[in-house]
């Protein structure tokens, strides 16, 4: 009992903290938007749960694309204010670039659904 209590006292706050972090860092499976602004993906790195649809919106007057580096998700060129959406169905780390300005690099981490661990 004593051990359990101590364990609970130790684990419970860390669970709360972990949940808080999970909520802050991991978007729920609702749509999220990455803006493309001044030749940058913003945010550059994003963590989402499986099933999330990510939208990219280009705010620059220059066209940009979204093109997976290791996987095959790709947009047509996005002129100013154009958007592209892609739904991430599988957990993993997805790097992508703008194929017109490949120095622009972004990453999406897709986490499995379910309670945060």
């Amino acid at each position: 009992m004593t051990h359990m209590k101590i364990a609970a006292m130790l684990v419970l706050p860390s669970l709360i903290v972990a949940s808080f972090y999970a909520l802050a860092a991991t978007e729920p499976a609702a749509d999220v938007t990455i803006s493309i602004d001044k030749f940058m993906f913003e945010p550059t790195a994003l963590t989402v749960t499986v099933g999330t649809t990510v939208h990219w919106k280009n705010l620059d007057p220059e066209p940009h694309t979204v093109r997976g580096v290791d996987t095959n998700f790709r947009s047509d060129p996005l002129d100013q204010n154009d958007s592209f959406a892609h739904k991430f169905d599988k957990p993993g780390t997805y790097r992508y670039v703008c194929s017109i300005h490949p120095q622009m690099l972004g990453t999406i981490v897709v986490k499995a659904a379910g309670p945060p661990n």
Partner: protein, 313 residues
């Protein structure tokens, strides 16, 4: 310094002077070295006949579909370029477009560009794509129109007036470092393509992105270009032509002359000047002087090419 002032100087000096020149370049092959000749000079001065045989024109970065303030009328500036070429009394038989034909890889943009380029009184057109031409998700618009000579690989070679031409593609398979890349398959093909040529054959290599690193933070280079260059050093006359940066930058290394052409659409900032690359807004009066083409002329004994840039001003 104007191209005119440099015309009778040594080739290196001329190239240096021309590095800050015009809108288009005419390449002439002269004593094995490509020599640039000012288009306006070529058009207006019969003495330039001695410069050699007009070999081809380089047009680059027409960006049909661009409509922002740096040039709201890219169709108009390309049409002016074509008029300038058609007015030349001594025209070469060939035009090479070094990419970014379109701005957004749209079918309608390719169609408009084709309509315009058809008005050139020059029969042979060769192209290599820019990253703006292969930006459609399926990467089909460019290749469905211009893929045939390369069987959709994007790289091919041909011979014209004793000059060996090599068209390379460095705008696919980007490395995340931002530089262009040729890739192993293309490099192997290039090595094989050049192996059987004699060292006295003048070589012209064209690709969209610069084949030497002009400014890495802006991706103005090709990561594996040095491998390609190692196959070219044994040749007596090599001319490497690129676009992409919308301004003239030149370098001579041994027998290899590197040259980037102006755009017919809009200028870009000098390397590292300002926050990043992109369309540079200049005054309406200044714009024509920042746009243009390049001419190449062939000279003989020994065969060489000379290069000139011309602006729309």
């Amino acid at each position: 310094m104007t191209p005119k002032a440099s015309i009778n100087q040594g080739r290196r000096q001329a190239l240096k002077c021309l590095a800050y020149g015009g809108a288009g370049t005419l390449f002439t092959l002269s004593a094995g070295v490509l020599t640039p000749i000012d288009l306006a000079l070529a058009a207006g001065n019969p003495r330039e006949d001695r410069a050699g045989l007009p070999l081809f024109l380089q047009i680059s970065d027409t960006h049909i579909g661009f409509n922002k303030e740096a040039n709201p009328d890219v169709v108009g500036t390309l049409a002016r370029t074509i008029s300038l070429v058609n007015a030349m009394p001594q025209k070469p038989a060939m035009v090479i477009h070094t990419g970014d034909i379109t701005h957004l890889s749209k079918a309608s943009e390719f169609d408009t560009a084709a309509q315009l380029l058809k008005q050139l009184n020059i029969t042979e057109l060769h192209t290599t794509p820019g990253e703006h031409d292969v930006a459609d998700a399926s990467v089909t618009e460019y290749f469905s129109r211009y893929g045939k000579p390369s069987q959709d690989r994007g790289y091919y070679s041909f011979d014209h007036h004793g000059v060996h031409f090599v068209s390379l593609i460095n705008v696919l398979n980007f490395k995340p470092n931002g530089l262009g890349a040729l890739g192993q398959e293309q490099l192997e093909w290039l090595e094989k393509d050049l192996r059987s040529r004699s060292a006295s054959t003048p070589i012209v290599v064209f690709a969209h992105m610069p084949m030497w690193t002009i400014y890495e933070p802006w991706g103005w280079g090709t990561s594996d270009a040095s491998q390609a260059m190692s196959y070219l050093t044994r040749f007596g006359s090599v001319t490497v032509l690129n676009g992409h940066i919308h301004q003239i930058v030149q370098k001579v290394e041994g027998n290899i002359t590197f040259h980037t052409a102006r755009s017919t659409a809009y200028p870009q900032p000098a390397p590292g000047e300002g926050p990043g690359p992109g369309p540079l807004k200049v005054s309406a009066a200044e714009l024509p002087g920042r746009l243009g083409i390049s001419n190449l002329t062939l000279r003989s004994h020994p065969a060489s090419l000379s290069l000139t840039d011309t602006t729309l001003a």
